[in-house]
């Protein structure tokens, strides 16, 4: 199994850390992983994206043009990466601020209103965990227990008190993700 994912959004949405948690979760179940961020001027306030690969084999190229899954968190990223999803692949997006919704018919599309949900939970910081939950509902490539383990590894110990809240957010994400349409995979 190899899953090639792009996560893209604004800087500050937790794009990079979400990718990191996913990579850690892969390690927890003995997979090969790679995490390749875009870096540079883009990092400073603009868009942020990260390519994450989880695989049972040695990972060849960590830098990709096409993806099995795109997790899209703003309009710019939608414009840039909707076309990069492999036919039969999946796109999952947060509807907040999206004015042009995805149009492709050859990929599965899911929507998760995580920003809205995070606001309801009165904790905007768990936004990315809600999205992660939604993704894992649709593609359970890593077990929830491994995600929690990965979360623990990637968070400094002084932040371990935040673990239950993050777990709650992931579980909320599992519940609120909605199917827009699905193609056979």
């Amino acid at each position: 199994m190899t899953e090639e994912i792009i996560i893209a959004g604004f800087g500050g949405q937790g794009v990079l850390s979400m990718g990191k948690i996913l990579a850690y979760s892969g390690i927890m179940q003995d997979q090969e992983v790679s995490w390749m961020p875009s870096y540079g001027p883009e990092m400073r306030g603009g868009t942020a994206n990260v390519t994450v690969i989880l695989s049972d084999e040695r990972i060849s190229s960590p830098i990709l043009n096409t993806f099995d899954t795109a997790i899209i968190l703003n309009q710019q990223s939608m414009d840039k990466f909707e076309k990069s999803v492999k036919p039969g692949g999946m796109l999952i997006y947060d509807g907040n601020g999206i004015i042009r919704h995805p149009e492709r018919k050859d990929i599965s599309i899911f929507r998760i209103d995580a920003a809205e949900e995070a606001a309801k939970m009165e904790n905007t910081k768990v936004f990315n965990m809600i999205v992660l939950g939604g993704y894992l509902k649709v593609k359970p490539i890593v077990k929830l227990e491994n995600v929690i383990k990965g979360l623990k590894e990637s968070l400094p110990e002084r932040h371990h008190a935040l673990l239950p809240m993050n777990e709650k957010a992931i579980k909320r994400g599992l519940e609120i993700v909605q199917k827009v349409h699905e193609v056979n995979r």
Binding site: A23, I27, V33, W35, M36, Y39, G40, S61, I63, E153
Partner: protein, 355 residues
């Protein structure tokens, strides 16, 4: 026991340096490698092992601190990215000319000039042909994974001390910024015994140690140059390292190092799915260059494509090795753009197979 971590390539260099028992790091911030100094500072290596970590006032000062520390027989490293490495060339020439061991990491970005902060492989000439003034070479290691970033710190130090010559890890912003699984070696103790040539204070009754690259007597200077050249020939005999991927039945060969080699691994898969028998030769040491292996492969394949994130630098060494036996061409992107696995296959089809 080894320890498993998820680290950026840059961070892996730092952690591996502490664990290899490095005595000091001297550096100056520059993108895309500032995490090396940041990670070291955050880790408080002075508490972990007593390692000295100092942010110098410039790359020039940093490499000269490396010289001072290396001449004390210590394990010293520095790191920078292309423009900063250019500034270090004077110091590197002195270090090579004084036969001192040290480790230099170049996390390459696109140039020339201030260029870009995106990854590139355009410093190959500078790294493998000397870089500064005078006839000298660096031992050049090219990691293509975060694991190798960590592993080559120890290997680099070992080779540097074995040959009393500076070693360089030539990597790029992509591997520096990328996170992968990495198995880290156990902590090694720092050295307590130092080489006989090290300036540790003149022992009573013994000759004083003088570390210098100066000899005003031309005959002596030529003799010294011959000695250096012998050393480089020994490296060529003993230290060539490379990896072969799907080379056994290959009709065409890609040659690539570092990030390009990772991308080419996928190109090999894509090409083979199309029925083209392609192999990948990945030089791990860029100096000494695997010229004999390439010469051997030239007798087996129909054509060779060098894939580099540059205008074509390593391709010159490939051509020298091939001695005109088969067609050799270059494909690469520049300025911080990374070629895709697919466009490499297209280039192979157009430049080598169809060409």
């Amino acid at each position: 026991m080894k320890e498993l971590k998820l680290l950026k390539g840059n961070e892996a260099i730092s952690e591996a340096a502490i664990r290899a028992g490095a005595d000091a790091y001297f550096g100056y911030p520059i993108t895309p490698q500032s995490e090396i100094l940041e990670y070291l500072m955050a880790e408080k290596p002075h508490e972990r092992t007593g390692m000295v970590v100092l942010q110098a006032e410039s790359e020039v000062a940093a490499i000269n601190m490396v010289y001072g520390g290396a001449a004390c027989g210590r394990k010293i490293l520095t790191s920078s990215s292309s423009p900063g490495i250019s500034l270090k060339q004077e110091g590197l020439s002195y270090i090579a000319g004084s036969e001192l061991p040290c480790l230099v990491v170049n996390v390459v970005r696109g140039g020339p000039g201030l260029g870009t902060i995106q990854p590139s492989q355009s410093d190959y000439f500078q790294a493998t042909k000397g870089g500064g003034h005078g006839d000298y070479r660096l031992i050049v290691l090219a990691p293509s994974s975060v694991q190798e970033m960590a592993d080559f710190v120890k290997l680099g130090f070992d080779l540097a001390f074995k040959y009393r010559n500076p070693a360089m890890i030539l990597t790029d912003g992509a591997i520096g910024q990328m996170m992968e699984k990495v198995w880290l070696e156990e902590q090694q103790p720092r050295m307590t015994e130092f080489p006989e040539w090290a300036t540790t204070g003149k022992k009573p009754g013994k000759e004083r140690r003088i570390v210098t690259s100066l000899d005003l007597d031309s005959a002596m200077q030529e003799k010294f140059n011959r000695k250096l050249q012998e050393k480089y020939r020994k490296m060529e005999e003993n230290e060539v390292r490379f990896e072969e991927i799907d080379c056994e039945d290959a009709e065409y060969l890609l040659v690539a190092y570092g990030t390009s080699a990772r991308i080419c691994q996928k190109s090999v898969k894509i090409a083979r799915e199309k029925g083209i028998k392609v192999g990948l030769l990945r030089p791990i040491t860029l100096f000494p260059f695997p010229k004999n292996k390439i010469k051997e492969m030239a007798g087996k394949v129909k054509g060779i494509l060098s894939v580099e994130m540059s205008a074509g630098q390593m391709v010159e060494d490939i051509r020298i090795s091939v001695e005109g036996k088969v067609k050799v061409d270059h494909f690469g992107r520049m300025g911080g753009i990374i070629h895709s696995s697919e466009e490499i296959v297209t280039a192979l089809e157009q430049k080598i197979i169809g060409g």
